[in-house]
Amino acid sequence: MERHFIEVHDIGKQYGSGETVVQAVSFMDFFIDDGEFLSVMGQSGSGKSTLLSIIGGLNRPTKGTVYVDTLDIYGLSSEQKADFRSEYLGIIFQSFQLVPYLTVLENVKLPMAITGIRSGDQKARALKILERVGLGDKVNRLPDQLSGGEQERVAIARAIVNDPPILLADEPTGNLDSETAEDIMGLLKSLNEEGKTVIMVTHNSDMCHYSGRTIFMKDGRMDGSRPSGWAHLQQGFIPPSAQHTVTPSARRQPKFSKPPI
């Protein structure tokens, strides 16, 4: 059977119990291929951030399964999931989520603190990435001494410093002006062109044209998908079942003791 890099099988997520149950996500079923740039678009409260956290192994779904590189990520133990996130994911959070008492350089080095990379190599790698995102001259500043756009760049630098194959971006331009937002999207696009799989959640349709495909969400459900380049904007929706074509890469040898499915 042909496998895709990321497979989301009929997942659902509900919060609360009894009469106060909120169905955040339901009947989501789609695939993402290696190297793809996928946008998940929807209004506020549509469940897109919940979906992203489920793909990131941060939020166990009430039902369904998520496979990443053939790994059933919710079949992993808590510590294995942490290893999975460290090895596979770079997460760019809404509101940047930088550690306030660490400098720019330290924030970027943070994911390497648990990798066993030597201190000198950590610094060299972090500086190189900070140069790339245009912050080479602000490495010793604290996050609150940076503008919103600069903080976003630090967040991106931190997300890619371990060279993960997947980038999850939650409203990466939500707190930025349009010019800075375009810069950030350009950066994400270039990372995608280098081979990273990018999954971006946004409510701004202007940002979707950077991605290859957009999934629309409404009330926790998929409301269709379509190729999202400007050239395809006039095309009709394509049902999710018609999206899966690319062979999985199995690009990494996972560290986990639990055998993949």
Binding site: S49, L58, F93, Q94, Q97, A113, I114, N162
Partner: protein
């Protein structure tokens, strides 16, 4: 970047809260240091007094006869057959296992003689060791040095009508009255004391010793053990320790020590509670930050390491500061609460090490649950936004 960098950076960034966190431990440890120092000083004070007090062991020849004297009154009919040790054997006392604890050996020969037509008790002593043993003796006159120098107890001098500088004749030998011993309230007030070997000759007891007084200069050394060891060397001797006074004093110190430990335990409990509550507050405050750590791949163990490392650093510093603060306060307090109290042992390395160990272990124990709670935070709930 290592995990400890995160701990150190966090502590440096939140100095005010760290100070508050450490304060409970500092107060607790300082209190313990003060109480321990005061107790130690009290014990030392009593032991020093005991050393000054003089002999703490007496060795006399074993006899089958019962003593017929009580409260200074001797009833007639006592068998006066005296038994003595050979002087040559006295050196054996220095050959017991705990010989390093033996301070002074003061052998004596005792007998009665007649001076100025009156019966008097004559005691031959080694003046050097006798004065070292009874350093509270005060003399009117010169310290006896020559073999024919005598020291008269004040009561004896009055009764025999002798004064400093006089000469007396005992058994045909002439002696000088070198000094009069000021009133001691002890039996020495009524006796005449002379050089050991000279008096042995006068009494016709050459090479004989009637009794030996011993002082063991030690703090908390096993007096009863030393008694047993001497008794083994001298089966014909009865060795007794004058421990009662010490024991009574030590009992009150022990009571104070128990009280101190009780107070210390209470203070430690309150201090640990403070650390626990503050650490819980820290964890709740850092929920989002812990969520970031977890989201970027930190294991539960990594989060625990970060928080416990912070607790360890705070505990270490609190232990050190508590030790120093407690030592300084003890230095001020001890002379106020203990008569002649010397704040010796202050800044002792062992107490410092105990303080630091206590600080670290208490801080770690109080932080264990908060750290565990932090490590188990659901990363998505912690981040909310995702």
């Amino acid at each position: 970047m290592k995990l400890y960098h995160i701990s150190i950076s966090n502590l440096r960034r939140r100095k005010g809260k760290v100070v508050f966190l450490a304060l409970g431990l500092v107060i607790g440890i300082a209190t313990i240091v003060i109480l321990l120092s005061v107790t130690q000083s009290m014990t030392r004070n009593i032991e020093e007094r005991l050393d000054r007090f003089g002999a703490n062991m007496v060795m006399v020849p074993r006899t089958e006869n019962l003593s017929l004297s009580y409260g200074g009154i001797t009833v007639g009919g006592v068998n006066y057959r005296t038994v003595e040790f050979d002087e040559a054997r006295i050196g054996d006392i220095r050959r017991i296992k705990d010989n390093k604890n033996i301070g002074i050996i003061a052998p004596k020969v005792i007998g009665s003689t007649v001076i100025n037509e009156k019966d008097v008790l004559l005691i031959g002593v080694d003046f050097e060791s006798e004065f070292a043993l009874k350093n509270w003796w005060r003399l009117d006159g010169d310290t006896p040095k020559a073999a024919n120098d005598l020291l008269f107890g004040v009561v004896g001098a009055v009764a025999l009508r002798v004064s400093r500088g006089d000469q007396v004749i005992i058994a045909g030998r002439t002696f000088d009255v070198a000094a009069i011993l000021q009133r001691t309230g002890a039996p020495e007030d009524g006796v005449v004391i002379g050089d050991l070997h000279e008096i042995q000759g006068v009494l016709g007891k050459k090479g004989k010793i009637s009794m030996v007084e011993l002082a063991a200069f030690c703090r908390g050394c096993p007096i009863s053990e030393i008694v047993l060891q001497i008794a083994e060397k001298f089966p014909d001797a009865r060795v007794t320790a004058l421990e009662q006074v010490v024991m009574a004093k030590m009992q009150s110190v022990e009571m104070f020590r128990s009280f101190s430990y009780g107070i210390a335990a209470l203070v430690i409990f309150v201090g640990s509670l403070l650390v626990f509550v503050t650490m819980m507050g820290f964890v709740n405050e850092r929920t989002r930050e812990i969520g970031i750590f977890r989201a970027i791949g930190f294991r539960q163990g990594h989060v625990m390491q970060i928080i416990l490392l912070e607790a360890m650093i705070v505990g270490f510093v609190a232990g050190l500061v508590g030790f120093l603060a407690g030592s300084i306060v003890a230095r001020v307090v001890i002379p106020l609460v203990i008569q002649d109290g010397t704040p010796g042992g202050i800044l002792s390395p062992s107490l410092g090490m105990i303080s630091v160990l206590l600080g670290v272990s208490l801080s770690l124990m109080a932080s264990l649950y908060p750290a565990r709670k932090a490590s188990r935070l659901d990363p998505s709930a912690a981040l909310r936004a995702l």
